[in-house]
Amino acid sequence: MISRRHFLHATAAAHALAVASGLGPLGRAAAQQRLSEQDILRFEPLGQVTILHVTDIHAQLVPLYFREPSINLGVGPAKGKPPHLTDQAFRDFFKIAGGTAEAHALTADDFTALARNYGRMGGMDRVSRLIAAVRAERGADKVLLLDGGDTWQGSWTALQTRGDDMVQVMNALGVDAMTSHWEFTYGEDRVKELAEKSKAAFLAQNVRDNEWQEAVFEPRKTFEKGGAKIAVIGQAFPRTAIANPRWMIPKWEFGLREEDIQKQVDEARAEGADVVILLSHNGFDVDAKLATRVNGIDVILTAHTHDALPGVVTAGKTILVASGSHGKFVSRLDLDIRDKKVAGYRYKLLPVFSDAITPDPSMAGLIDTIRKPFAAELAQEIGRTESLLFRRGNFNGTFDDLIAQAMLAERDAEIALTPGFRWGGTLLPGDPITFDAIANATAITYPACYRMEMTGAQLKDVLEDVADNIFHPDPYFQGGGDMVRVGGVGYAIDVSAPMGRRISDLTLLKTGRPLEASRAYTVAGWASVNQGTQGPPIWDVVKAHVARHKTIRIEPNAAVKVTGA
């Protein structure tokens, strides 16, 4: 059945192809010529202050492909509203034509065709160039650069240098303040060490030592820019100690701490702040709710859920900004401040099209220096993919299918579980699968690929619990992340049902038979939050599997049936 939506997708694809073929063999170059650095930077300045926001870079130093999700369901009040729009609905909402550079940057359909046309995005040398250009245009004393966190993790070089490479890069970029989530997976000592080395203030009002409930980090910092006092409150990911290994940060507690945010806002106002910004790693839906419950926040710079929105969302008087991930975008928000109020604002999500932007040579040099010791290892071609390999989506990603298949085969398991991480690059059909690419999807500090037995009932419980973390109608109960990917098993999910009743029809795909509640199955998985988990690192498992097959082809995954959306 071709729905109207599918038909529209097809039209968009045809349009994209027409554009490419119309320009002949120079299609790509011509497309880039149309898209200049000036176009990307074009912005009519407003007011006295510019806020620049980058977030969820996940240690991606060099340009990459990153496909946005084609399924990103909102539940409860978030249903059908940005950021829970994809593809045609997203383009309709933001008035973006199919086949354009913006469509490539922000939507998922036609990804392969558009990626070939518009090239890779991101690269910290390009990000650096854009930031320098804004500072030059506006005056550096009017620009505040803020980083929403998930910066120090996500690549092989970040893992090998335990985050040091990213601290060097962000210091060179001149970040004023940051907050955090995956940073905590380097453990308490290392985080403190790097926070010290970081020139950016490491702000986290919601991290406390669990003995005395004292703040571990500075909760907020006030900056003077363009003659205005800007208070920035840091909010680390509230559920770090649940979603990531608590044993690595045993003395720290997190949580949302809404009342404490209100206290921070009130204190900042009492100290004479003109503008109050929450530099948040809560996730978009959590922040959208928080904006209606905490008074006096002018701007929330959101993160964690990797949403990229080419316009702001407002909740009451609060402006919410969503700046995407992986260095694909830099957000620019100009504020006109009068009488301690935001009298006006202007916003643009600057897309970092790597082919259109001249790399900043000094940042390019730093990136080369960082990557050089690992260059041979990173460039190793383990195999090639015939299929588009991507990560994002509520239920499946082809890169995750590959990881799951690798675990089933290499660990001789009946079922594989791979976490619904939202970071990791995309590979186009025909691309080499380098070790760099494998590491970009797997580089974490708790990589052991375990093998164990689990009953059908236990598996159902796990899926129910994870589903409740994503589809609980109250965003304060959502933990973020996408649904755990299950290899070897299909299931149906009603996202609108209450916990315990969302998951049904669990089927072992190999036999086509229902999963038995009391039977034990062999399960392989990785990213266990438990201390002492045994097994080879997941990148070795994936590498061995890809090396064995050389050519990877992933068939479309129809194992998860979704209702209630």
Partner: protein, 154 residues
């Protein structure tokens, strides 16, 4: 809500991809309390006396980071004078093997009827607090605490 399976400390046992300890920690078949068991406990002390809502501020996390040590603070509005003070606060959990969690006892010399500690919660459940005032009146409030196995935020 919590499915048909036996009682266990969920957080400790299962992370979606952290199942290494699962089989060994699942208790054979511990029974658990429910809201009736909590009511029965309160009845033992107060024999079905009417309870009013309010006056108690029960501060527990909506989502526990660690089910083994969930922070709890109770704070009851009271002048705490000889004439008018909070005598005791009882806390119950309707999803633990035993419903009784703790009792804080106060006197006018306490100054404030406020106390904090940590409790162990087996699973997602309601926490019920009952405050007994010096005039014999009773107040109650409840809050749900979610004890989760994770969900890999990324």
């Amino acid at each position: 809500m919590a499915g048909p399976v036996v009682y266990r400390t969920r957080r400790n046992v299962l992370h979606m991809a952290a199942l290494a300890a699962a089989a060994s920690v699942i208790a054979p078949s511990l029974s658990k309390a429910d809201s009736k068991a909590v009511e029965a406990e309160i009845k033992k002390l107060y024999d079905g006396k009417a309870m009013a809502e309010g006056r108690i501020k029960l501060d527990v996390p909506q989502i526990a980071e660690n089910g083994l040590v969930v922070p709890i603070t109770v704070d009851v509005e009271s002048p705490m004078t000889e004439q008018n003070f909070v005598k005791a606060v009882h806390v119950y959990a309707d999803g633990n093997p035993l419903p009784g969690v703790l009792t804080f006892r106060f006197s006018p010399l306490s100054g404030r009827a406020s106390a904090s500690t940590r409790m162990r919660l087996a699973q997602t459940q309601n926490i019920v607090a009952v405050a007994e005032m010096s005039d014999g009146s009773l107040f109650t409030t409840k809050a749900e605490v979610k004890v989760t196995i994770g969900g890999c935020g990324g």
